[in-house]
């Protein structure tokens, strides 16, 4: 052991504490940086040397600057983000749908349907009355317009979702490019002795953001890069290459198909069926596809079936009766002839097409026999039409009155909205719980860093003191020679 080695030991401590303080400083300054993981300077004592048969230490050194990271937690967060992103999208879309069916506070289709049959009751009380006949026609027109309005509004929600695909696919492509870029940078830095802690933080953040938009899984590769796949297995990131999503309009439906070009190029494949995860349950893109391709179509099918069945029954009953001039005609166009229950394909789009066939109030058929013979006071047909409101139609979902069928559609929307609201708040809670866990594990605690700061500062002072003493000893030794 020599005086110089004492000085060296002191110096190693000065360097090590200095580095530790720098790391602490980095932690403190990044306390609010999104995605930042706290770093720790790992201090180890330097290898010992034998001095007069005693193993003596050679000071301290920093073996690594480690960042706290839990790959399992990252995976959990990605799953939660995907579900949460999907739930948010679905909920916000359904919030647009709900007002269309809100019969509680506004007057909607259900109310109009009821009024329509009510005008037939009034007509039964006064079959010759022009105002009563006119009321039948104008409320009938209102009914038709309500069908059109709901149909158009539902279609516009679908269009809306379709439009949103443009934004989300471009965001996904950006994120994929960033991840691939970071893969390259991290690999370059770590190919030497470097550790790219900050870049890894960034990459994980982008991967988490990506998982909110689309359901993905990731895998840390040995070379420091990550591979990202869709949950259905298709590769999105492989080393330095990123896949890209594009949109093409499907000729049959008029809506976008999502096309996936694999990493490194190649033929694009149609990913519409799997990009949203199983049953479109993952990511914002899954939410959009689910609303566009499944949820709204269910409502539309019900609406079409209701319009079709109503027109069918109404036409049969109306054409059996006679107008004031003896006319016998359908009430609604286009003619709907298929016997219920109506196959979905037959009824498809009917709620958009439905219209009134009658052109004058005289054609409203209140009578069950030609008025020229049986008298204009005949109200039997009006009564039997009014009774249609309570008649059970044979519907695809079983027998139901038009009112019950419509109410069950409202209920269906209600259940979906309730589910979506719950889904959003539950998945939101899970995400924030996981964020807290991540924060708890990798977040910066100011108190902890302040304590570290003090600790390293004091150690630095101590090491300086050691060097001081060493210098004095050196002076003493040199003084001997004088």
């Amino acid at each position: 052991m020599s005086l110089t080695s004492l000085l060296n030991t002191g110096l190693s401590s000065l360097n090590a504490q200095m580095l530790a303080i720098e790391v602490t400083g980095e932690n403190i300054t990044n306390v609010n940086t999104p995605g930042y993981s706290r770093q720790t300077a790992m201090l180890v004592n330097a290898p010992t040397t034998l001095f007069r048969a005693f193993p003596m230490g050679n000071g301290v050194r920093v073996s690594a600057v480690q960042r706290t990271y839990d790959s399992f937690l990252q995976g959990q967060m990605m799953v939660a983000n995907s579900t949460s992103g999907q739930a948010k999208t679905v909920n916000s879309a359904l919030q647009m749908v709900q007002p269309l069916f809100n019969e509680l506070t506004t007057e909607g289709l259900g109310q109009t349907m009821q009024e329509f049959f009510s005008t037939w009751q009034d007509l039964a009380a006064n079959p010759q009355g022009v105002p009563e006949r006119q009321a039948v026609l104008s409320v009938g027109q209102q009914l038709v317009e309500d069908f059109h309005r709901i149909n158009t509004s539902l279609a516009s929600v679908k269009d809306n979702m379709n439009q949103s695909l443009e934004q989300v696919t471009s965001d996904i492509n950006d994120a994929l490019k960033q991840i691939a870029q970071l893969n390259v940078s991290i690999k370059q830095i770590e190919i030497g002795q470097g550790v790219a802690n900050e870049l890894r933080d960034q990459r994980e953040l982008v991967v988490r953001q990506l998982s909110e938009m689309v359901g993905v899984t990731f895998k840390d590769e040995a070379d420091g890069s990550v591979s990202v796949n869709l949950t259905s297995g298709q590769s999105l990131i492989s080393g330095k290459d990123a896949a890209s999503l594009s949109l093409t309009t499907n000729v049959a439906t008029g809506y976008y198909d999502v096309m996936l070009t694999p990493p490194g190029g190649g033929a694009a494949v149609n990913a519409t069926a799997f990009v949203g995860g199983p049953a479109n349950s993952q990511g914002e893109i899954g939410g959009m596809l689910q609303i566009r391709d499944t949820t709204i179509n269910r409502y539309l099918a019900d609406l079409d079936e209701l319009a079709y069945s109503l027109a069918n029954e109404m036409n049969a009953a109306h054409a059996a009766g006679y107008g004031l001039g003896g006319t016998q005609m359908d009430f609604f166009t286009p003619a709907a002839g298929t016997a219920p229950p109506v196959p979905a394909a037959t009824a498809a789009g009917y709620s958009a097409l439905i219209g009134i066939n009658l052109t004058s109030a005289n054609q409203v058929a209140a009578a069950s026999a030609a008025p020229a013979v049986g008298g204009t006071g005949n109200n039997l047909n009006a009564l039997s039409i009014a009774a249609l409101y309570n008649k059970t139609f044979s519907m695809s979902a079983g027998n139901a009155t038009p009112e019950a069928f419509y109410n069950s559609l409202v209920g269906k929307v209600g259940v979906d909205v309730q589910g979506a609201e719950r889904g959003e708040s539950q998945t939101g809670a899970i995400v924030s719980q996981l964020n807290n866990q991540r924060e708890s594990l990798t977040g910066v605690s100011l108190d902890e860093e302040l304590v570290n700061l003090t600790k390293y500062q004091k150690a630095y002072e101590g090491a300086a003191r050691v060097i001081n003493v060493g210098t004095e000893m050196m002076d003493t030794v040199l003084g001997l020679i004088r």
Partner: protein
């Protein structure tokens, strides 16, 4: 669990959010007085409410139908009452004319009055309500009885109104049954116009026996009109009871809907106060936490 500044901050933010969300819901309930504002609030209650509301609207319609029916029946009833009066006077006069003691002059005077009573009776058969002839069946836009011959040109149909679901009440009465006694006249009852005609013929011939022969028929005619009145009375009773059943049902529907839809104000206000307290406490607590830092103690 390691707690950092950010975990506490997130936690505080999350709990404030939760409380605010609950507050908003409660405030909306307090403001609207309704706890089911959207189908999504309670889909099951929504379906029940909608069904009950449609029942309630149907019940409004039935009330309207009952009112319509009642007024028509009242007119029919009063026309029949007047017919009864005419027949009573006819009988009185016929009894007077049935003895052989009347001279030609009094017979001529009686013939005039019989003529008057006959046309009065036929006019009553052409009673109108709201421009509709109540005894005309479905052909109610033209007078059912010919003023000179008394021939019936209406139909025998009843105009019915729905007073409760699938329950119909006729609001008119067949003029032919009431006045002419079936098709052809007199086939099922008494042809009342025929009685007048017979009396007129008998009077003109000075045939008191012929008049006496009509007396029994006049009794039958009175019974025929009475039977009509009794039936109309029964229908009006039915309407009255249907109306009160309808009103009761409407009331109970309204109560059930209120139970499903309306908020309990006491509950909402007290919940709201609780949430406000919770909010204040949360804010105060978080302010306290973030005030203390190790920085204050490090020199």
């Amino acid at each position: 669990m390691r707690v950092t500044q950010n975990t506490s901050a997130n936690q505080v933010l999350a709990s404030l959010q939760t409380i605010l969300k609950r507050q908003q819901t409660l405030q909306q309930q307090a403001a609207t007085g309704v706890k089911v504002n959207n189908p999504g609030d309670d889909p099951v209650a929504t379906q029940q409410i909608l069904h009950l509301k449609s029942l309630s609207a149907a019940s409004d319609q039935f009330t309207r139908n009952i009112t319509n029916g009642t007024s028509t029946l009242t007119v029919v009833e009063s026309a029949m009452a007047s017919m009864g009066d005419v027949l009573a006077r006819t009988k009185e006069l016929a009894i007077g004319m049935s003895s052989d003691t009347n001279n030609a002059q009094s017979r001529a005077a009686a013939a005039k009055e019989f003529e008057q009573l006959r046309s009065q009776f036929i006019s009553l058969g052409n009673t109108e309500f709201n421009g509709k002839f109540v005894f005309g069946g479905f052909k109610n836009d033209t007078a059912p009885f010919d003023l000179t011959t008394g021939a019936f040109s209406g139909t025998n149909d009843d105009i019915k109104v729905e007073i409760a679901r699938d329950s119909f009440v006729p609001t008119t009465y067949s003029g032919e049954t009431l006045v002419s006694g079936g098709t052809p006249p007199g086939s099922t009852g008494v042809d009342i116009v025929g009685i007048f005609d017979n009396i007129a013929t008998a009077l003109a011939a000075g045939n008191s026996a012929g008049i006496r022969a009509e007396l029994g028929k006049i009794d039958d005619a009175q019974a025929q009109v009475m039977a009509g009145r009794a039936e109309i009375g029964a229908r009006m009773n039915r309407l009255t009871s249907a109306s009160s059943v309808n009103d009761d049902m409407k009331l109970s529907i309204t109560q059930v809907v209120a139970g499903l839809q309306d908020v309990d104000y006491a509950q909402v206000i007290s919940d709201l106060t609780k949430q406000e307290n919770a909010f204040q406490t949360a804010v105060a607590a978080s302010a306290k936490i973030s005030q203390i830092s190790l920085l204050d103690y490090l020199r």
